[in-house]
């Protein structure tokens, strides 16, 4: 890792990577440091994967303004620049009782104030035409055509890869352990060594308060708020086309029912404050609440055909309930981008834009890098190709002819591509995020051993060192026979003492 740079970005979630990419547009040296062996391992890996329209957003809050601007940027730029799945399915906030209608009108007005396009109230018949599985109790809904769904893993990886293609560095397994203010700026101590920087941008998600404390800015706290989800099989017979919200109450935004970019149905999240930032466990009560909540809008849902449960943690600043994106006055050069819960994903490009403005405030106008190329493409997606296209591809490169993941039709070529990207996949989950093996109905039962083998080969490490995600998550503990040989050795040692 280099020992000096202009800007250190702490945190490889969607916010940090979007910032790094935006900064790489300029003649600036940027290093993003991420504590895990991959980007996108925190909140960005476990969320509802929505690009909110912005009608729910409070225009007085940072997150309100950034949601709307972010949505705009996804429409205008991101979906054209990054070859990642983004689909404008639209969202509906469904009232299941006439008493909820005023709330719809309220959201409509707020949305229009925020500058959200195309909002309208739809009536029951129109709703049931769009979504035949919607509850019979539906009376009306706010319809937001500018809402979208996105693949948050490919998005984050796309931001990161594009940033590196444009000259930024991404350092993995580089947890920040301390930051010292110096005359020139900062010395950032990481697990991979020290790096001096003029500016530090804190996008450390759940740990943003701890990073901020390192430079003495300790007036906010991140409280983890857990949200749990169910994901259904692609061949599930309840087809949902749009993102369905219930009417939000005082207590909760409600359980969302939405398709994902790969046509799995996703329901969730609930919300529960917890203490332990490492606790991403699902719970019986939480999951039951998720299904119950989803049945409010889509009553036919059961646990049948579920292929995955998971939980994510929102990094909430409880006091304000808002983002905290600002230059910290007491520590000039230190920019916080903290408290990014929902709509963090929708806001990411706008957050990056804002942070660049803040960086300019600190160090004066930035000069654009003429070589900057915003366009990024990941590995080819064999599963979305016609048979003819596949045949053509395999003729050029036979590795795309070896199917490794049966459930999702993912090839050896795509997996090896993922391991050799600018921000390379080094773990089983990193591969799953980029190219999907393990995300299907067998959850890695068939492809798992093969993926481990390929990682072992490409990284030149024994299979027993291949990790699922973090340090300590090695999947295979030993070569067979080794424990027996060790027991034999121990046995003979004991005997030798006789």
């Amino acid at each position: 890792m280099q020992s000096q740079t202009d800007v250190v970005v702490v945190g490889g979630g969607v916010t940090g990577t979007a910032i790094a990419r935006e900064l790489s547009r300029y003649q600036l040296d940027v290093v993003l440091v991420e504590k895990s062996p991959d980007v996108c391992t925190g909140t960005s890996k476990a969320n509802t994967a929505l690009i909110h329209a912005g009608f729910n957003a409070d225009p007085d809050k940072q997150k309100g303004r950034l949601n709307v601007r972010g949505n705009e940027l996804y429409h205008e730029r991101i979906q054209h620049e990054l070859d990642v799945p983004i689909e404008w399915r639209g969202a509906m906030v469904v009232a299941t009782d006439e008493s909820e209608r005023p709330k719809l009108e309220e959201l409509l007005a707020k949305g229009q104030d925020n500058g959200v396009d195309g909002l309208e109230i739809l009536e029951r018949e129109q709703l049931l035409e769009k979504e035949p599985h919607l509850t019979d109790d539906a009376v009306a809904a706010l319809w937001a055509p500018t809402a979208g769904i996105v693949n948050p893993f490919e998005l984050t990886v796309g931001f990161a890869n594009n940033a590196v293609e444009n000259g930024a560095s991404v350092e993995l397994e580089a947890e920040v352990t301390d930051i010292t203010k110096t005359d020139e700026g900062f010395t950032v101590e990481t697990a991979k060594g020290e790096i001096d920087a003029d500016i530090v941008i804190n996008a450390a998600g759940l740990y943003a308060d701890e990073v901020s404390k390192m430079v003495g800015v300790d007036d906010f706290e991140i409280t983890p708020r857990r949200g749990e989800y169910y994901l259904y099989d692609k061949q599930f017979d309840i087809d949902i086309d749009t993102t369905i919200f219930p009417v939000p109450t005082e207590v909760t935004k409600g359980i969302v029912v939405t398709p994902t970019d790969e046509e799995n149905l996703l329901i969730g999240p609930n919300a529960q404050e917890i203490d332990d930032k490492r606790d991403k466990a699902t719970t019986r009560q939480g999951l039951d609440k998720v299904l119950e909540g989803a049945q409010k809008t889509v009553p036919d849902l059961t646990k049948q055909d579920v292929i995955k449960e998971f939980a994510g943690l929102r990094p909430a600043i409880k006091e304000t309930g808002d983002f905290r994106i600002q230059i910290e006055e007491e520590v000039p050069g230190f920019i916080n981008a903290a408290g990014i819960q929902s709509p963090g994903l929708a806001s990411a490009p706008a957050t990056a834009e804002l942070v660049v403005d803040l960086v300019e405030e600190v160090r004066g106008d930035l000069e654009e890098d003429p070589a900057f190329d915003p366009n990024y493409s990941g590995p080819p997606k064999v599963r979305h190709m016609s048979h003819e296209e596949r045949a053509a591809l395999i003729e050029e490169d036979p590795r795309y002819g070896q199917i490794i993941c049966r459930c999702e039709t993912v090839t050896e070529g795509e997996i090896r591509d993922a391991i050799n990207q600018p921000v390379p996949a080094q773990t089983v989950n990193a591969i799953k995020r980029r190219v999907r093996p393990g995300a299907g109905r067998c959850q890695g039962g068939f492809c798992g051993p093969r993926v481990i083998e390929i990682l072992s080969e490409e990284l030149d490490i024994p299979m027993t060192e291949v990790k699922l995600e973090e340090e300590g998550s090695e999947l295979l503990t030993d070569e067979i026979k080794q424990p027996l040989l060790e027991k034999s050795r121990e046995g003979s040692e004991v005997n030798a003492d006789d």
Binding site: V306, I307, H384, E395, C407, Q443, L476, I480, Q482
Partner: protein, 439 residues
């Protein structure tokens, strides 16, 4: 679905196009038996498409004995059983394509297969036999809450890792599910020096055969705990333990019975699911209980000229019956190719009472003078002792088989002979289970 914007270079005409009489999807014991039987019936244009690097299917990782007692009258290990049939198809010159994945089977029997040597091959098949086997039920399908650490494996994946890759999935395991796969894996893990803390079973009785309980658990003092299940998984990066609870008759966890078991590995042996995604896309109707296609006695599905056999049709516990069933399918497909199939005017519907979970096949739709009997495969819905499984038609009992002990985990077969079928009072067969005193 988002279309990728990447342009594909290369020759869009690179796809190979072939025509074959019979395409068999899967080269495990079902596919091998079907191909062998079809060949012996006179069809020589047969292609087996197998996704693994060799034939034999799941048998290659089943290194334990227990196979072939019926078919070979000898007790063989999985690989030994497989090798016999691998040699049989090799001798018969069947076209074998390894490392080849089937991407799609269309309703009119166009099969798309892919491998790295041939690229994509489009095969127009006269007949297709589906023999894809099954996959394992996952932790998520069981809805077990808790963390998602490394160290959770289905028993079959662990078996492959140990027996073929030569890697241990862990050092200290809890096994959920006492079916034969779970029991076998308890022994494997133990004999490889790992600790097996317990085998947990949600039912009041084990799902495996007694011999496996004795030789996999009792031999090594591995406890079997019935009416218990895992209700939570712990450990951030690697499994650290499980919470276990007793369950009531409705399989609901009983509050207050929680206890913890420290472990670094969880093996799940909690159900096999016929792998029918290709079948569904081809328009094949599936049976609600078996999860496999609905077939007649020739093993033809509702889609003309598409057949199914083996675990993809219904999960078998004895491979010898897979062989018998697959040979029925192969022979049927062959006879159909030769126009030697005579359809009954009216199919004979096969029905069963609630005492049986299911019966395969669903009906008898052909007349076949060369066929002496038709085996019916079924499972009782709960353990029973001293029962007759009876076959009747129009109230008249035609045949029966006595079971000292019948269990859901052990398939029952009852053969109905062709003469009986010729003289049915009505085109219906009814299967029931009655206690011996009542019979």
């Amino acid at each position: 679905m988002t279309e990728s914007r990447q342009a594909v270079t290369g020759d869009l005409d690179a796809m190979r196009r072939e025509e074959h009489d019979l395409v068999v999807v899967g080269g495990g014991p079902a596919g091998l038996g079907a191909a062998q039987a079809a060949y012996d019936e006179g069809v020589d244009d047969i292609v087996i498409l197998e996704r693994d690097f060799e034939l034999g299917g799941i048998l290659q990782q089943c290194v334990h004995p227990g196979f072939g007692l019926e078919y070979f009258e000898e007790e063989l290990t999985g690989p030994e059983y497989a090798q016999q049939f691998i040699e049989n198809v090799a001798e018969r010159g069947v076209d074998i394509r390894l490392d080849t994945m089937v991407l799609e089977v269309t309703h009119d029997r166009t099969v798309y297969a892919v491998n790295d040597e041939d690229g994509v091959t489009e095969i127009d098949a006269e007949k297709v036999i589906l023999a894809m086997g099954c996959r394992e039920r996952t932790r998520d399908a069981l809805d077990i809450p808790g963390s998602r650490p490394a160290g959770i494996f289905t028993a079959g994946t662990a078996q492959r890792l140990i027996n073929m890759e030569g890697k241990l999935p862990g050092e200290k395991a809890v096994i959920l599910g006492s079916g034969d796969v779970g029991l076998i894996m308890a022994r494997h893990m133990h004999l490889e020096g790992a600790e097996v803390e317990a085998v947990l079973e949600i039912m009041p009785y084990t799902g495996g055969i007694t011999r496996n309980v004795v030789q996999c658990l009792e031999d090594f003092d591995i406890p079997l705990r019935t009416q218990q299940t895992i209700t939570e998984i712990h450990g951030n990066d690697r499994v650290e333990g499980v919470t276990v609870q007793e369950v009531d008759e409705d399989f609901e966890p009983i509050p207050g019975t929680e206890y913890e078991i420290e472990c670094d590995t969880i093996l799940l042996s909690v159900g096999l699911i016929p792998e029918n995604e290709l079948s569904v896309d081809a328009g094949v109707d599936l049976h609600q209980v078996t999860g496999g296609p609905i077939v007649d006695e020739t093993r033809e599905t509702n889609v003309e000229d598409i057949y199914a056999c083996g675990n993809v049709l219904h999960v078998h516990d004895v491979v010898d019956w897979v062989t018998e069933e697959s040979m029925i399918a192969g022979r049927s497909a062959a006879r159909s190719l030769q126009d030697r199939v005579e359809t009954r005017e009216e199919p004979i519907e096969i029905e069963s009472t609630g005492k049986l979970r299911y019966v395969v096949p669903d009906r008898i739709s052909t007349v076949d003078p060369d066929r002496e009997e038709i085996p019916l495969y079924m499972r009782v819905h709960a353990p029973m002792e001293d029962v007759f499984v009876t076959l009747s038609s129009g109230g008249e009992q035609l045949a029966r088989t006595f079971e000292r002990r019948a269990e859901p985990g052990e398939m029952v077969t009852l053969n109905v002979d062709s003469d009986t079928l010729a003289e049915l009072p009505e085109p219906r067969l009814e299967l029931d289970v009655v206690q011996r005193e009542e019979a």
